[in-house]
């Protein structure tokens, strides 16, 4: 101190003041405010990362400022109060900090920290307040004084930043994990739900969990690369989106065939209800019989064909087929099929042979899918060409072969198969004639050869085809079988026919097919029998044994109608027997037997014809055969009638032919019901014919009158007004009873609507009144 009392400089005074005041923490608004703010800030949770950082920084500063590092920096709050009192020395510093300079410094520091740590987020702050503080504190320890503080600040800034950064680095990915994991967790409700919710605090845990989740869920986050497929995740969530293999059970070929057969049969069977039973039976049997090799595609084709081939088509085809057959056999297969079908439908249409062919073909067609029809077509043709040739042997054989081989949808196959079968059968057959015939057929028909080669391969197909054909044949035969010949028998006959006259062939074929079928098919009943309602009884006897018997019987029967030659019967019988014996594969034996018989019968038939016939289509032959057989049974002389429709077809045709001459007035049921209703008393049932006659006359007169009325009105069509006039003249309608009354009285509602104009909304009148 200077002695000069007077000369106390301001500086000295200030110094004294400072010295004296130093120990006292000057009460400054800022300081107080700071304290308060500190307290306020510290008491609550982290208000904000920035603020938290600032607090931390301040603490560090305080710590650094004070030589004695503050213990337990973990407690910023506690430290704050602690720091406050002890920081008397640093208080000024703090105060200074609070002062403009300090504030500036703090700002600078804090900004950096804050900026750096801003991304850190509260989580980081929260999670790492301690480590940060620790680092800070450590940093603070290292630093000394302002410079140290500054350095420490830097270090603090840096260290904590690094720490923070590290934490961030950890956190961020964690966060990423958490985010991704969170998402995943969201997706996967059951799993990892507990952890996901938490954020930064549990970031580490979450990270692990999320990682786990990621791993388990196929880690969406890039950090976790797992090999797990995303499906794992989706599995639980969206079941519908799962790629599941449809649990369709592949239907067995046989089953499919059966189904197809049924469908096919049902389709064409619309007209011939009779056949349906047989068909279904046959189909089932066929199915069983058919080898697994049956082409599925063929099956597919069949239904389509069947659908398309309606009875009308059949009829048309049959007619066509019949005509064409004579011209071309082989090529007519497709035609023959329709022809055959037609034949079935129209008894009259077909000639004796044609009819037979038609019948069997039609019948067969009905059962068989278009393929069958095709097959039948040739048979028909064949039969047609060989009216006399009853030897359906070849045909039958073919049928049989086909049966053996399986249902070959395509006619060609059938033919070929048939040929092969026949050839095969022929081979088996001892008879040379048969073989020769067959051979001839084979030779003549190139396909046969091919078929032979293919026969083996196509066995399944052909068998199917054969089956089909045989079925058709049976069906056609069925018509004939109505006569009582079991289908089987017919088949045998057909076999015997072989190359013999088409009819024979057809029949034989049909029979043979049936036999073959029976043989080949364990369960198959004579195809003809089930097909034809007439043959039903025969079908019932479908056991192979029975078949053989039936064959004999049918042969005999068929032969009679089919072959007016008496030889047929015994031959056929023999054939059937032989066939059975010779049927190595079942059908083969039959065919040769039949072939033999047929051959014998085919005295008149040309070998070529027969060969062709046999080759062409067993179905065709079958139909013929069936037809003939049926004819034999029913009307030995009237082959035509038989042709009309073997089995049910025959039955239908026969009455149809007869009935055609008769006039079908209104249906009896309708008329009688009306009459009874009006009569109100009991009515004798035999009144119907009388009423019919009356109505017939009435209608004639009615037509004339109406025509007169229309002409009078210079119209060319009879209209309702004509009728009104008529009724008026008749006395039914008078001024008091308008026509509408009568309409309402008598006609059903639907008709009433049509006649009586009804006004509807929208100024519309129903029916439309044209003025």
């Amino acid at each position: 101190m200077d002695s000069t009392e007077d000369d106390i400089s301001a500086r000295v005074l200030l110094r004294r003041v400072l010295h004296t005041e130093l120990p006292r923490s000057p009460v400054t608004s800022s300081a107080t405010n700071v304290r308060r703010s500190m307290r306020l800030k510290n008491t609550p949770g982290l208000e904000s990362p920035g603020s938290a950082l600032r607090h931390r920084l301040k603490k560090k500063l305080h710590e650094s400022a004070s030589l004695s590092p503050l213990p337990s920096p973990k407690r910023p709050r506690s430290m704050v109060p602690n720091t406050n009192p002890p920081v008397t020395v640093p208080s000024p510093v703090y105060d200074e900090d609070m002062t403009t300079r300090g504030l500036l410094r703090g700002i600078i520091q804090m900004e950096t920290e804050a900026s750096l740590l801003m991304s850190g987020q509260p989580a980081l702050q929260a999670s790492e307040p301690n480590p940060a503080e620790a680092s800070v504190s450590s940093a603070g320890e290292r630093t000394e004084g302002l410079s140290g503080v500054e350095l420490s600040d830097l270090t603090l800034n840096t260290e904590p930043l690094t720490h923070v950064v590290r934490g961030l680095s950890r956190r961020r990915p964690q966060r990423a994990f958490s985010a991704s994991a969170f998402e995943k967790q969201l997706d996967q409700l059951p799993e990892d739900v507990s952890h996901v919710s938490h954020k930064g605090d549990i970031s580490e845990e979450k990270a692990d969990a999320s990682q786990d989740l990621d791993w388990s869920s196929g880690s969406k986050s890039g950090l976790n690369l797992t090999l797990k497929t995303p499906f794992v995740e989706k599995r639980i969530e969206r079941v519908g989106l799962q790629r599941k293999v449809s649990n369709r059970r592949l239907p067995s070929v046989d089953a499919f065939d059966e189904a197809v057969q049924r469908c096919l049969e049902q389709g064409p069977n619309q007209d011939h209800s009779l056949f349906q039973d047989g068909k279904t039976l046959e189909d089932s049997s066929w199915q069983k019989f058919t080898l697994c090799l049956n082409d599925v595609t063929e099956l597919y084709v069949q239904p389509k064909k069947d659908d398309t081939a309606g009875p009308s088509a059949e009829m048309e085809r049959d007619a066509e087929y019949e005509r064409e057959y004579e011209l071309e056999r082989a090529s007519e297969i497709p035609d023959s099929v329709p022809l055959i079908q037609e034949g079935k439908d129209h008894e009259l249409e077909s000639q004796d042979d044609d009819e037979e062919d038609v019948v069997p073909s039609s019948q067969e067609n009905m059962f068989l899918s278009p393929e069958d029809d095709i097959v039948l077509a040739p048979t028909q043709a064949m039969t047609e060409s060989l009216p006399e040739s009853r030897d359906v042997e070849l045909q039958d054989r073919e049928f049989v072969e086909e049966v053996e081989i399986g249902n070959v949808v395509e006619i060609e196959d059938q033919k070929v198969v048939e040929i092969e079968d026949d050839s095969i059968e022929d081979e088996n057959v001892v008879e040379d004639e048969v073989e020769e015939v067959q051979d001839e057929n084979v030779e003549e028909i190139e396909d046969e050869e091919v078929v032979e080669a293919e026969h083996r391969t196509e066995n399944p197909d052909t068998s199917q085809y054969l089956e089909r054909i045989t079925r058709r044949a049976h069906r056609s035969e069925g018509g004939g079988s109505v006569l009582g010949i079991p289908a089987a028998t017919r088949v045998t006959k057909s076999f015997g026919a072989g190359l013999n006259p088409r009819e024979k062939d057809l029949l034989d074929f049909i029979d043979g097919n049936r036999d073959l079928q029976d043989f080949s098919d364990e369960e198959r009943e004579p195809p003809g029998s089930p097909e034809f309602p007439q043959l039903h009884p025969a079908a019932e006897l479908s056991t192979p044994e029975q078949r053989s018997q039936q064959h004999e019987a049918s042969l005999a029967e068929e032969d009679v109608p089919e072959f007016e030659e008496d030889d047929d019967a015994p031959e056929e019988l023999n054939q059937s027997e032989e066939e059975e014996e010779l049927m190595d594969s079942g059908s083969a034996s039959q065919s040769p037997e039949l072939a033999q018989e047929e051959e014998e019968e085919e005295d008149d038939d040309d070998d070529a014809l027969s060969a062709e016939l046999s080759v062409k289509t067993p179905a065709f032959v079958r139909q013929k055969r069936v037809f003939t057989s049926s004819i034999e049974q029913a009307m030995p002389t009237a082959l035509k009638e038989v042709n009309a429709g073997p089995a049910p077809q025959v039955a239908k045709r026969a009455p149809r032919q007869k009935r055609q001459t008769g006039v079908d007035v209104l249906p009896k049921s309708y008329v009688m019901s009306m009459f009874k209703h009006f009569a109100k008393t009991r009515v004798a049932s035999d009144i119907y014919p009388a009423i019919n006659e009356i109505l017939k006359k009435y209608f004639e007169r009615l037509a004339d009158d109406l025509e007169a009325y229309s002409t009078h009105a210079k119209r060319k069509t009879i209209e309702v007004e004509d009728f009104e006039l008529l009724m008026r003249r008749q006395g039914f309608v008078t001024d008091s009873t308008p026509v509408n009354i009568l309409i309402e009285k008598y006609l059903p509602l639907e008709y009433r609507k049509l006649l009586i104009p009804v006004a509807t909304s929208g100024n519309k009148v129903i029916p439309k009144q044209r003025r």
Binding site: V665, Y670, M674, I691, I718, E719, V720, P748, Y751, L755
Partner: protein
């Protein structure tokens, strides 16, 4: 009564010998006509049967009535 009327058969009858055409709903009228006629026929024959004191309508009843009917509904 509300049975399906065989429109096709009726149409066939009406067009039997001639080539004339039938209008759209004309066959319905024909149906109506047929019903009416049948009704009348039944009535007449029932009456006839009563005359003979038989509960059921026999053929001869109907026949006897038929001629008269055809004549009356001549138009």
């Amino acid at each position: 009564m509300s049975k399906k009327a065989p429109r096709a058969a009726l149409k066939l009858h009406m067009k039997k010998n001639t080539n004339i055409r039938i209008g759209k709903n004309a066959d319905l009228m024909a149906q109506l006509n047929l019903l009416v006629v049948l009704h009348r026929l039944a009535e007449e024959s029932r009456v006839k049967a009563f005359e003979e004191k038989s509960a059921t309508i026999k053929v001869h009843h109907v026949r006897a009535v038929a001629k008269k009917m055809l004549k009356s509904t001549r138009g």
